[in-house]
Amino acid sequence: MWFDILPSFWEGTKITIELTLFSAVIAFFLAFAAGFGRLSKFRAVRLLAATYVEVFRGTSLFVQLFWIYFALPLFGIMLPKMVAGVLALSLNAGAYGSEIVRSTLISVPKGQSEAAIALNMTPWQRTRLVILPQALVMMLPAFGNLIIELLKGTALVSLITLSDLTFVATVLNSSIMRPTEIFSVLLIIYFVISLPFTKGIQWIEHRLSAGRY
């Protein structure tokens, strides 16, 4: 009796995975832009990046999604559900991601950039050859966790009636009224999607603690 409802989840699963991947890619770029922006030598850039990060960390994804979907149209900006969903998810995750980028960049010991200066590297070479390779490795586990948070966040788009996994489940439940099975299956599907990321993070953390660092 559990299996008969499984196929109904297929389309929703695809939407959920698509949402997660699209948003993760955009969030990744935003995270680097804002993370570097907060360390810029130009005050205006620092201020802009900090404002973005504080606004999107100071409110929840829920509020951001609803604002983008329901309030923006009053400015004449009417976004399709999928676009509104990806936009809210990636802006939100990008703000958290920028903190990962910023904190790992500044956690590379000062002696590293001093050694790079002593070798007469240009600022860009210092970042590209010395700082970033060391910071990237440290970022990986945190970015893995961010993707899991992003995946969990996608469930909220069901509330603007985008037909992701959760939306499919609630519609199904209102027609066949079998909440125990439907919501159990739903939770398990999310858990299964997140598994590769959880395992990947564990693997990386294990390698980092055993490795040459």
């Binding site: 504080e54 509020v63 604002w67 400015f75 899991i148 489940a169 439940n173 125990t180 858990f191």
Partner: protein, 216 residues
């Protein structure tokens, strides 16, 4: 576009709902603190099934959406005769979800205690209970208070999700106001600004607390 008159008119109603939001936050936080500590201790237990269960619970709850967990509590439990009000279901769901994060916070605090402290407690023949109560927890909790404060703020920001199980907190109030007037801009913007101001100012307080603790 933006109507000040309307915004001022709806402001008192939104502020009234803030009371529900804040009480849900604090009750859920207490749930998270208590369950989080229990999970941490259970994971360290020598009784394998208990530690495995706690580890599995943390892993599962952390990688599934809070919204779905709330649906589960709100729609599945009544099937087994346990009907909960939106408020109770909401604070249990929110509290359980964040208990898994707080479990990690406790763990970090406990693991930062040097082994010498455990050995000293053993040398003085303290019971297990007393070792925890008198030696380990009093040292491991104060340093992580700022992190706990940050989770309190996170939980506060997440309370709008409780509107999905019909709890009338500020987001639900804003939604209802919006659907009556077909104007969402003012209501949602007010909610956003309220969250931003409250969470940003509290996070500044947490940062100050952190500095004070570091100075000690």
């Amino acid at each position: 576009m933006w109507n000040w008159e309307y915004a001022i008119k709806i402001l008192p109603e939104i502020l009234k709902a803030l009371k529900i939001t804040i009480s849900a936050t604090f009750v859920a936080f207490v749930v998270a603190l208590v369950v989080g500590l229990m999970l941490t201790l259970a994971r360290r237990s020598n009784f394998k099934p208990l530690s495995l269960f706690a580890g599995g619970f943390v892993g599962f709850v952390r990688s599934t959406p809070l919204l779905v967990q709330l649906y589960f509590i709100f729609y599945v439990l009544p099937e087994y005769g346990l009907s909960l009000t939106p408020f109770v279901a909401g604070v249990i769901g929110l509290g359980l979800h964040y208990s898994t994060y707080l479990a990690e916070v406790y763990r970090g605090g406990i693991e930062s205690i040097p082994p010498g402290q455990w050995e000293a407690a053993k040398a003085l023949n303290f019971s297990t209970l007393n070792t925890w109560k008198k030696i380990i927890l009093p040292q491991s909790i104060p340093p992580v208070i700022p992190v706990m404060g940050n989770y309190l703020i996170t939980m506060f920001k997440e309370t709008p999700i409780l509107s999905a199980i019909t709890l009338v907190e500020i987001m639900q109030t804003a939604k209802m106001l919006g659907s009556h007037s077909f104007r969402y801009l003012e209501a949602f913007t007010i909610v956003g600004v309220l969250f931003l101001v409250l969470s940003y100012s509290s996070s500044l307080m947490v940062r100050r607390l952190e500095v004070r603790l570091n100075l000690r």
